[in-house]
């Protein structure tokens, strides 16, 4: 009996030693790599934003100057990340993550940058499940369609012409796919209207804050 107890105790001690070694190795590697990992993740996030806002348009830390905005009627998702770009201490642009909820096969995730005067700096699709070969021309790798928003604003074209051509607007649809570009145009337009109405509050909020905005677009229909 005593022998058996000693045996299992020895096994336990050996196992504990192995665990201690494993822990020491992990803790050491973690301490060595933590700084670099944080740095490279920060750089990856800045690079991801650089596709909608050129580096010369801001001089602050876009990743750190971030707020969360809860305005689903406007931005299509319960919580959107909004980065504030500032140049020389003055507000320069907002980078908003926006969802077009009415794509042909579900949500289309967009990144939209809007400058202080309400003009689009850049729009890119960050995720979608639209039909390959038909709806995926919204990707910049497949066509330049998405770049045609750049420089546009709510007055250019008029509100009524912020639509695809089939609906009497200024933006092309794709051969065989109208639903996808219609959803994207509408989402960008809603985003511009949101910035026009609430932009000041977005620029003013403290970094890291969560902003809840309860208004809704005039034509909003809850789904």
């Amino acid at each position: 009996m005593k022998e058996a107890l000693r045996e299992s105790l020895r096994s336990g001690v050996q196992l504990a030693l192995a665990a201690l070694m494993a822990t020491a190795l992990l803790a050491g590697t973690f301490a060595l790599t933590r700084g670099r990992i944080a740095e490279s993740e920060h750089r990856a996030r800045t690079d991801a934003l650089a596709i909608v806002i050129p580096a010369g348009r801001y001089d602050n830390d876009l990743v750190a100057d971030t707020i969360t905005v809860a305005a689903e009627p406007w931005l299509g998702q319960p919580a959107s990340t909004v980065h504030r770009a500032r140049l020389g201490g003055r507000d320069a642009a907002l980078v908003l993550s926006v969802v077009a909820p009415d794509g042909y096969s579900g949500d289309i995730a967009l990144l939209v940058a809007v400058d202080r005067r309400g003009r689009v700096v850049g729009v890119r699709v960050s995720g979608h499940r639209e039909t390959p070969g038909l709806g995926d021309d919204i990707e910049v790798g497949r066509s330049d369609w998405i770049t045609r928003f750049t420089g546009r604003s709510l007055g250019d074209p008029d509100a009524a012409r912020w639509a695809v051509r089939k609906d009497g607007g200024d933006f092309d649809q794709f051969a065989g796919a109208t639903v996808t570009p219609r959803a994207v145009v509408a989402a960008v337009k809603r985003c511009l209207e949101f910035v026009a109405r609430h932009g000041d509050a977005l620029y003013a909020a403290a970094p890291g804050a969560t902003l809840r905005i309860d208004s809704a677009p005039d034509d909003y229909r809850p789904q």
Binding site: Q14, A18, M21, T29
Partner: protein, 215 residues
């Protein structure tokens, strides 16, 4: 068990005991990450490193661990080593980490690691265990890389596309202009087909050699 010569260890890992072609171990990463040559090379190198380190670590503690706690102790050591490698890749090759993602921690579940720890490293000196891990890993690497290169070449008409961005080796990249692509090779089924062809080629070669010897 008679001690194998270094040459025999290398030969076993690269050819006669190859994990990918002969033992058919670690097929999940082999099939999932072989969609192009760069991913295959990245995961292959990570596996070589992991196998060498785990084999060495297991061999150095083989006298400290008794039979009944050996497996759990090895599991912990392997998990710690692989996690360390994952952290290092995240720190120094973040783009590669973004592509390989889940498959680096999944090296833990590559049966080749546990298999070699149990079958070889627990009975040999650290130096020989390191060589065995290196050989087995290299055997896995060449099969993975070959499948990846074949699938990328047939599927997309390029070789090592993205090597500059992911591995910092832009000199490796090759691309054929205007190739329409062949989706089947890139889809998961392509991995099974290429692996099956490789195994069939090897079997055919072995059978022909055996019959020639008999004649």
């Amino acid at each position: 068990m008679t001690a194998a010569t270094p040459r025999a260890i290398l030969e076993y890992g690269l050819a006669s005991g190859n994990v990918g072609l002969v033992q058919l171990l670690g097929l999940c990463p082999l099939l999932a990450v072989s969609n192009n040559a760069v991913n295959a090379l990245g995961l292959g190198l990570a596996t070589v490193l992991a196998l060498t380190l785990t084999n060495t670590a297991v061999a150095s503690i083989r006298r400290l661990t008794r039979r009944d706690v050996r497996i759990p102790a090895f599991v912990m050591v392997i998990a710690a080593v692989v996690t360390s490698i994952e952290l290092a890749i995240r720190a120094w090759l973040p783009e590669l980490h973004a592509v390989l993602g889940l498959f680096i921690p999944l090296i833990v579940t590559n049966c080749a690691l546990m298999g070699r720890a149990e079958a070889f490293a627990s009975r040999n000196s650290p130096g020989r265990a390191a060589l065995d891990g290196f050989a087995i890993g290299l055997g896995f690497l060449w099969v993975l890389l070959l499948i990846g290169a074949v699938r990328e070449f047939i599927g997309e008409g390029s070789l090592f596309a993205g090597a500059g961005r992911l591995l910092g080796l832009p000199g490796l990249e090759l691309a054929a202009e205007g190739y329409p692509g062949f989706l089947l090779a890139v889809l998961p089924i392509g991995a099974f087909l290429v692996l099956a062809c490789l195994i069939a080629l090897r079997q055919g070669w072995r059978l022909r050699r055996a019959s020639r010897r008999a004649a």
